[in-house]
Subunit: 427 residues, 2 copies
Amino acid sequence: MKTIKFPKRKEWSEILKRPTQSLKDIEETVNQIFEDIKRNGDEAVQKYTSLFDGVTINDLLVTDVEFKKAATEVSNGLKAAIELAKANIEKFHKAQKTEKIFIETTAGVSCWQEKKPIEKVGLYIPGGTAPLFSTVLMLAIPAKIAGCKEIILCTPPNSDGKIANEILYAAELCGINKVYKVGGIQAIAALSFGTDAISKVYKIFGPGNQYVTAAKQIAIKYGIAIDMPAGPSELMIVADNSANASYVASDLLSQAEHGVDSQVILVSTSKKIINAVNVEVKNQLTDLPRSEIASQAIKNSKSILLNNNEEVLDIVNEYAPEHLIVCLDDNDDLIKSITNAGSVFIGNYTPESAGDYASGTNHTLPTNGYAKAYSGVNLDSFTKAITFQKISKEGIKNIGPSIELMAEAEGLQAHKNAVTLRLKDLK
Amino acid sequence: MKTIKFPKRKEWSEILKRPTQSLKDIEETVNQIFEDIKRNGDEAVQKYTSLFDGVTINDLLVTDVEFKKAATEVSNGLKAAIELAKANIEKFHKAQKTEKIFIETTAGVSCWQEKKPIEKVGLYIPGGTAPLFSTVLMLAIPAKIAGCKEIILCTPPNSDGKIANEILYAAELCGINKVYKVGGIQAIAALSFGTDAISKVYKIFGPGNQYVTAAKQIAIKYGIAIDMPAGPSELMIVADNSANASYVASDLLSQAEHGVDSQVILVSTSKKIINAVNVEVKNQLTDLPRSEIASQAIKNSKSILLNNNEEVLDIVNEYAPEHLIVCLDDNDDLIKSITNAGSVFIGNYTPESAGDYASGTNHTLPTNGYAKAYSGVNLDSFTKAITFQKISKEGIKNIGPSIELMAEAEGLQAHKNAVTLRLKDLK
């Protein structure tokens, strides 16, 4: 890790710059595949699955037999772990339920807001080297709590045409039975338009590689909502001498092993802890199976030494990290002033891994500084708020004259007239 | 209005089709202006203001003197109307505040969620023939309640280089003092990149013409969040013989006067009310100052006669109207089953105008069927939810072993290691 000592504020934005991810080169490819799937449906989906995943899939939908077989092949220990994680994620997301909000704003004017589930949602789970069954939990559990009627899960098949047992087990455990063996651009396009096999959805959730990210952006153009824009995963750690250097190093490495483009930043007012963490990172790195990926990510990462806690707070809020670990002698002062972050982990015994898997919080979070404007996935991500109003005769008498004046001032006579007609009858 | 009698379900999607709005043709123009403003800042902003608004503006920021003068030129009657509307909008949006959600998911594992204001937001208010000061209220009030620190309002100047008095009055009343005389693509680009005069924001809100709509879509590519995608305004009315045909007609016309592309649909199981409304529409249309626009919109609009209430409910949810007026002998049955709508108006004395101006609900709503996945603007639109967690020694002992198993099964050894190190020390 490169250490940067006491940078001036005007240098911060350069230091905090993330590697830009250009999707322009692949946009044309994505557009073509979207058009093809819009026209040719499942046939095109199967064509691209052969092309990109190297396997011919006749039945995209995972069968009951496959679900049952998968369940027998997951160890009991892992099943219990998944169930504990599920219970915690359920508790935290159930607690996010909001009641109907009702208020009489003026006598006779009743207004309320109700959250309703988004009826049809698509969950995308990446394939690749590791089966990310934890993401199944993070998306399926709030979708179920919200009450989404149709929940469709797409995930790419391996070269044998199979889905990882853990993904199928987690899906079934969450009550998802529509799992399709389709990944990449073709999955997002199928969810956007609908095919004979796969229903069109209203909103698409989930992480993915640059092709999936680009495809989700194109989906927006076709009127589909998405959870949030995506970028490489990242972690910022704020530590002082009360932090355990070995733990801090292990957290930095857990983020670094995600990919060579992972972002890892350590911020401190203590030179001592920065040095100690750097030594620990080197020691721990050698033993990791993914050490090549992690060491590449660590090479691009930074330790930043700052003058005081005020600077620490400001740099956190300027960076707006996806994950933020805070390990200070006094955490409370900083915590209460954080305005921009995805998810915050506090103290020596709160590794990022906890939130990635089992503490209950969601791990689908805004990267790339999007935490300045976006929330991580939460229960509300699967609902929309509808407003209602009911006005009595008395109510329209109370607010009608104001509406008439305002509508007239905006030059909208028919808006005024809708009120005038009613008021006239009530005289 | 064209009346369609008892259409088959498979014909619905064709009948409910909205006029598609293609932004492709103007995308290139928008991209060029964005690049120019990114490079040349205020100079480019002023160039496009001259070009598109036909006026040279040296000081983009509205001065105190201009605010004061505007306030003296708004009538006391209108001021009182605006204040009543403001009070109601405030009540309804304040009621949407949510408390911190705290839960101990497992002993020693504390998780919580807090909403934080988006620090910097941009509000766009269209210019044109009518000064839409009501939209100032709808955006500025929740932004203030949420606690957004920097609120910037952009609106195009008229050919004299002025902003409508009502817009300035409403802005000042809401505590907004950064109002810039800039509109169209150049306003959205300036808010996206920041210039010397105008600060960069994290999220942009507000309606606009097709250029503004396209510009907001391009802003997303530069990492800026937007309130929602936009389309022409629309209204669906569900009525039976208990509805007052004259009121229904006035509501349809209030929507129709917005623009020739406004969408107006009447749905009923009663041929009698459809006929009566059609007669009333013709009668009322002639007297409107904007009758040309309204009659064009009415020409493209439809009355749909259906067999039963079940069909009525299904067609509402399939269309997902921005505005829905329900005027039935028994409203409750339908209301409780509505899943897709922006804002719902119930009964004979609840015109859409009420929600447009003064009842308290927000009038910035999802058009174009987006109500299937998007909420209208509400208090949460100006906040993001951050999650926090703090785990004790006991807590990590309780969930640590599960995290280890799951991380290992996902092939993420460093994630496991971050827990293993801690558990080892606690043995």
